[in-house]
């Protein structure tokens, strides 16, 4: 009955095993695929149990909450874990075709496993300090993955990424310390329960705001996002995609977790701040993208912008808004990963990410073009893809909450997102390739392994189409998740009353 910890232990195990077998490249590749497959399998199993029972609580070591570390997986956590599995598997597949041998020799696969472990750990834990630990696991795995190529841009980007994220970690840690000083506990449910008993919540608000800053940095919210556009376009494409899909979402997840279950004592104050953050994040991210002319840079800025939508869902704090936020997270993880992976194929073929040097892909690779168009239009919120419903729910929530300003921003940002996506489309796919007779991409890159890459992309694109055409069950999941988030009492009872 330790299913809740499986999403952590599986990648940890495969990561450790890959490290132990560091000499054998083929073993690493096999473990890469098998490990992510198993992760997805346990994630789905966990999801099924959560779906059936509402929540899965595991007191690690048999120490009942709040004594030990308790893993508490509710619907949101389960969804996130499944998404982790999906993304992990897609990246593993893609990596089969795209990872240079020397990267495989120097820990690419172990780092990938452990990054997934950190991500999954963040999603399942119900302990605030344990969350810090998984954040760090994730963070340092990402540091290492970011710098794996040793290129100049990677180094420059990594310095910013590392420094700003460490600042965030320091604030996170300080906030945990202060929270412990105030409430004497680390278990989220226990914290939530105790906060409910506090009359003067001034200090609680202070701590809440600190968490907001710390997670805001991790989530790359305005004005704390600098590290992301500075670094996400630099590593291997598979790594970029993994980061883009999952990492910032962990920050968003943490905001969702903390600002529903735990810090729901003064929504008028805390979530009002979040509304502003959401609006400015959307806007500044999308404007950043509009100024870019490099494939992955555009995509990177759009992560920022899209984070704004998710935060908006949280900030409006109505059931529908939270549903929208959760839906948006699900959609965005898949779509963003896909887009980055597509950039990997174009890079492989044309050897550049610069829009001006790319072109001719619609002519030469119609399949890839379709596989780009689907997530691109989905990202821009075009129907009937997943992004449309995600945006629609958030906007509807915004309208119903009469949050006119931020809703208008959300709409405008949708338009500008479309602008960016069509920019990529026009430059990379429509335009004839520059400097070639045929107008087709020059094709310096080897096409070995493209099959793996296409498989990953096609699988994810199928997911976004599936979510789009089949929104109802996904919505139902988001609804369950939102319902649980908005009723912290159930969470608290489930955690504190569960027996080991």
């Amino acid at each position: 009955m330790s299913l809740a910890v499986a999403p952590i232990l599986v990648p940890l195990f495969f990561g450790a095993l890959s490290l132990a077998l560091w000499r054998y490249r083929i073993a690493q590749r096999v473990l890469g695929l098998v490990g992510t497959l198993v992760l997805l399998a346990v994630a789905i199993r966990l999801f099924q149990v959560v779906h059936a029972e509402g929540m899965v609580v595991l007191h690690m070591g048999g120490w009942a909450a709040p004594l030990g570390i308790t893993l508490a997986v509710d619907m949101l956590g389960a969804i996130m874990v499944v998404l982790t599995g999906i993304t992990g598997l897609a990246i593993a597949l893609f990596s089969m075709g795209d990872t240079p041998e020397r990267h495989e020799h120097f820990g690419y696969y172990p780092l990938m496993h452990l990054l997934l472990a950190g991500v999954a750990g963040s999603f399942v834990t119900g302990d605030i300090f344990n969350l810090y630990v998984w954040f760090e696991v994730m963070l340092i795995a990402s540091f290492a993955l970011l710098t794996l190529g040793g290129e100049r841009a990677q180094m420059e980007g990594a310095i910013k990424y590392v420094t700003l994220n460490l600042f965030s970690s320091a604030i996170f840690l300080s906030a945990v310390g202060i929270l412990y000083g105030l409430l004497g506990t680390l278990n989220m449910a226990d914290i939530a329960q105790k906060i409910d008993q506090v009359e003067n919540t001034a200090m609680i608000n202070v701590v809440a705001v600190m968490f907001m800053v710390a997670f805001g940095i991790k989530a790359s919210a305005f004005p704390l996002f600098f590290w992301l556009p500075a670094s996400y376009h630099t590593p291997l494409v598979g790594v970029s995609a993994l980061f883009a899909g999952l990492l910032t979402k962990v920050g968003v997840y943490a905001l969702f977790r903390m600002f529903t279950i735990v810090f729901d004592h003064d929504v008028a104050y805390t979530h009002e701040i979040l509304v502003w953050v959401a609006g400015l994040t959307m806007l500044s991210g999308v404007l950043g993208a509009a100024a870019q002319y490099e494939f992955r840079r555009i995509l990177s800025f759009h992560i920022v912008s899209q984070i704004g939508y998710m935060i908006l869902g949280l900030a409006l704090y109505t059931p529908l808004a939270i549903i929208g936020g959760v839906f948006y997270i699900m959609h965005h993880i898949i779509v963003k990963t896909t887009l980055f992976l597509v950039s990997g194929v174009t890079y492989r073929i044309a050897g550049t990410h610069e829009l001006k040097d790319l072109g001719g892909f619609f002519r030469s690779r119609p399949m890839l073009s379709v596989l780009f168009l689907i997530p691109a239009f989905s990202l821009a919120g075009m129907p009937p893809l997943s992004g449309f419903f995600a945006k629609f729910i958030v906007i509807r929530a915004g309208v119903e909450a009469e949050a006119w300003g931020v809703t208008a921003v959300a709409l405008l940002v949708g338009l500008l997102t479309l602008y960016s996506m069509t920019k990529i489309w026009a430059e990379v796919f429509w335009k004839a390739a520059p400097d070639t007779e045929s107008g087709e991409p020059a094709g310096q890159g080897s096409t070995v392994g493209l099959g793996w890459m296409y498989t990953a992309i096609a699988g994810l694109a199928a997911c976004t189409v599936f979510i789009g055409l089949n929104g109802e069950p996904i919505y139902a999941l988001a609804e369950t998740a939102a319902d649980q988030l908005l009723n912290p009492d159930r969470y608290i009872r489930a955690v504190l009353e569960a027996r080991p």
Binding site: P110, L114, W134, M203, V206, A290, I393, V399, L416, A432
Partner: protein, 767 residues
């Protein structure tokens, strides 16, 4: 069945490339089977709907969000569906001929069929959101169609422009529809139209109206959003023909017509629609005569028609509604025909400029006749359906409730404009002196002729046999629009009345203009250029330019690459938001430090002095050395305050850190002073602010303790349950072993990261 009807286009689209490969040049005929079948089916539905009223067919899709594939079948939707499928049939056939041998014919049909299906979805949807879904799909597919010749930069720019404008409006529309749905309590159009709720009295009424109008106006190319439409001519002619005649641009008109029963009573609705409609009508007509490209002229005449339709909905009187329905049908027929003819012309002659053509009638007799008929309908001359539509339109504007004098004047001008345009299209290329063209023209193939001939023929047939459109199309539409269907009566001759006089006036003036058309050109060019400089399209370009400029500026300011600025922003944000919360909600708990242990205080002071020294010294190694004193001091603080494990760990870590540092620092440069004094002061201020915040936070946090820590239980159970006397270690390896597990992996990860960095470098060097 309905669902299949709407989605069949998408399904067929999936197989389009395959079919193209199999059927080869004749694939257009194959594809046309689908719309033809649909046409028959819709036609078959018509009598039933006329007899029993509107029907709603429901297919659940996303019921939780009230988003369902529900279809509303009534006169209005069926009329549109018939136009789409009917004209679509000929367009698909036509495209096969027009794009014969084109390498991307398969892709073309994929998008074209999707576009057709989307359009059917728009006009048939009962659900506001589903309608919007299809609405956006038309935007996307038309984007792909306009940009079909995508290696041409102009095609790409035009495609983007069309998409940008229509999606911008579309987003407003989405907000508007959400508001409407929320206000009405249902997203079903049928429910909205039947709703008892006081929609117009609701406080959201005005924003809702404006949002919906923004969507409709952009889609239907109303002034000032009209500019994208002529540019969309970059698309292959079959696309233009389809877009302009029966689809895309009509979506906005459809939506307005659809919502007219619910919203038509609003004064704002009447004012805005009739004003912008009238203005658009006039502008379109006027612009049409300033151009010489056949497709451009037609495009502006489409704008004129769209304006007319919108204006008529706005006027909303019985005449206006009848005029709307009649004009709509007439326009779809002649515009489809004329576009296909324009396509034939450029296909056969190799030029798009009407001014370069002349005397083609003898070479292309069938085309010239079809062109003449369609153009007469466009000009609004009897006995064609266009004439009836125009007469009704004059009738409507003459007793419009709003903009009393303005609308007739605009309408008169527009009447002149379309007549001139018709002349340009139908007379100029076919008659007069034979001009040499880049290609030697022949009569077009059957596939390309079928459309123009049939549509032009219908224009004539409907004009002569008015009862057919009256009963099958106009009356049902008027009923759907909330008018009195039984009062609909179309006639060619109403006696000598004001509309007829206006028509004659138009004819006279238009004849004069046509007579001197070539002489007017230079003046018109000047005028057009002036408008180009100040018109809405210039506005669009300015917006796009400003967008880029603002984006670049913002990025330069925020994402400027200067790490210091990033840190300052982060630090100040932290200080600002946390400090604000603390000060406003808690206060500033300043206390003076009174150490209870002088020695510990001394160590603490030593620590901070060393820390400052490490910060201030110009010697890099001095700094590292000072940091190890800081480390020792921290360890001592830990030890003095009862944390031996921490003390040991701190010292060990400090030692190993020094070792690591000296291994690496060796190859790094020394400290250099790079910042200006001003920057240093700025940084000091920021740093002090962060420090002050942390101090105040700790002071506050140590004042308050709401609950006893849970660790009392750790202490109590460490020996009995954890079997260990070092409570910290029991926590680390048992109570909270998961933390430690994670931490192990952190260390391992750091090692892997370090190793790969140095090893990959070593490989670089050997490589």
């Amino acid at each position: 069945m309905m669902l299949l009807a709407v989605l069949s286009g998408f399904i067929l689209a999936l197989f389009a490339p395959l079919i193209c490969r199999v059927a080869g040049d004749r694939c257009g005929w194959v594809f046309a089977l689908l719309p033809a079948t649909l046409f028959v089916w819709f036609a078959w539905l018509l009598p039933e709907v006329m007899a029993n009223g509107a029907q709603v067919v429901r297919y659940p899709w996303f019921p939780a969000m009230e988003i369902n594939l529900d279809f509303l079948i009534d006169g209005l939707s069926l009329m549109f569906a018939l136009l789409i499928s009917g004209i679509g049939t000929f367009i698909l056939i036509y495209a096969g001929g027009y794009l014969k041998g084109h390498p991307y014919l398969g892709r073309f049909y994929v998008v074209m069929l999707s576009f057709m299906a989307s359009m059917l979805g728009v006009v048939l949807s009962d659900n506001l959101v589903t309608l919007f879904v299809f609405w956006e799909l038309t935007s996307i597919t038309s984007y792909l169609l306009i940009g079909f010749e995508h290696e041409d930069v102009k095609a790409r720019a035009s495609a983007l422009q069309g998409l940008f404008v229509t999606v911008a409006g579309g987003l407003a529309l989405m907000a508007g529809l959400i508001m409407l749905g929320t206000m009405a309590g249902s997203y079903s159009l049928n429910d909205v139209l039947a709703s008892d709720a006081d929609l117009l009295g609701h406080e959201w009424a005005v924003p809702m109206l404006l949002c919906i109008l923004a969507g409709a106006f952009t889609k239907s190319a109303q002034v000032p959003f009209h500019f994208w439409l002529p540019n969309a001519m970059a698309a292959p002619t079959p696309v233009s023909a389809f877009l302009h005649s029966a689809t895309m641009v009509k979506a906005g008109v459809y939506l307005l017509a659809r919502l007219n029963p619910a919203l038509g009573e609003a004064e704002l609705w009447t004012l805005l629609l009739s004003f912008f409609g009238g203005l658009t009508m006039f502008t379109g007509a006027f612009m049409a005569i300033t151009h010489t490209g056949a497709k451009k002229v037609l495009a502006y005449s489409t704008i004129m028609a769209l304006g007319t339709l919108v204006m008529l909905i706005g006027i909303g009187t019985h005449y206006a509604l009848v005029a709307f329905a009649t004009f709509l049908v007439a326009h779809s027929l002649y515009k489809g025909a004329l576009f296909m003819i324009a396509g034939i012309l450029d296909h056969e002659t190799g030029t798009k400029d009407v001014a370069e053509m002349g005397g083609l009638a003898s070479l292309m007799p069938v085309t010239s006749v079809a062109a003449a008929v369609a153009a007469l309908s466009l000009a609004g001359l009897p006995p064609l359906l266009g004439f009836v539509g125009k007469e009704l339109m004059f009738e409507a504007v003459l007793d419009a409730p709003a903009w009393q004098m303005l609308l007739p004047v605009l309408a008169f001008g527009a009447g002149i404009g379309v007549m001139v345009a018709a002349g340009i299209i139908a007379i100029k290329p076919f008659y007069g002196k034979r001009l040499e063209t880049p290609k030697h023209p022949h009569e077009a193939p059957v596939s390309m002729l079928a459309g123009p001939v049939v549509l032009a023929g219908l224009s004539l047939l409907f004009g002569v046999a008015l009862f057919i459109p009256e009963q099958t199309l106009v009356a049902p539409v008027v009923a759907s629009l909330g008018g009195a269907a039984e009062k609909v009566h179309l006639a060619l001759w109403h006696g000598i009345n004001m509309p007829l006089i206006l028509s004659l006036g138009c004819l006279v003036v238009a004849g004069l203009i046509l007579r001197f058309w070539s002489r007017l050109q230079p003046q018109l060019d000047v005028l057009r250029e002036g408008l180009g400089r100040f018109g809405p399209e210039a506005g669009y370009f300015r917006i796009m330019e400003w967008l880029t400029r603002i984006a670049t500026w913002q990025t330069r300011v925020l994402q400027n690459g200067t790490m210091g600025n990033y840190m300052i922003t982060l630090a100040l944000t932290t200080v600002g938001i946390t400090g604000f919360t603390l000060i406003t909600q808690y206060g500033v708990p300043l206390r003076l430090p009174v150490p209870d242990s002088g020695f510990a205080a001394g160590i603490a002071l030593l620590m901070i002095v060393s820390a400052f020294f490490a910060t201030g010294t110009v010697s890099r190694l001095g700094s590292v050395a000072a940091m190890s004193i800081v480390g020792f001091a921290v360890a001592l603080i830990f030890i003095l305050f009862s944390a031996p494990d921490l003390g040991i760990t701190q010292i060990l870590v400090e030692t190993l850190t020094v070792i690591l540092l000296v291994l690496v620092l060796f190859r790094l440069p020394g400290f250099t002073r790079m910042s200006s004094p001003l920057e240093r002061w700025r940084d000091i201020i920021v740093a002090v602010m962060v420090g002050a915040l942390m101090t105040v936070l700790i002071l506050a946090a140590t004042e308050v303790q709401f609950f006893e820590p849970i660790s009392a239980e750790h202490v109590a159970r460490s020996v009995s349950d954890g079997h260990g006397r070092n409570i910290v270690n029991v926590i680390l390896v048992d109570f909270r072993a998961l933390d430690t597990l994670g931490e192990m992996f952190v260390l391992a990860l750091a090692a892997v990261g370090v190793y790969s960095m140095i090893r990959l470098k070593a490989e670089d060097q050997t490589a």
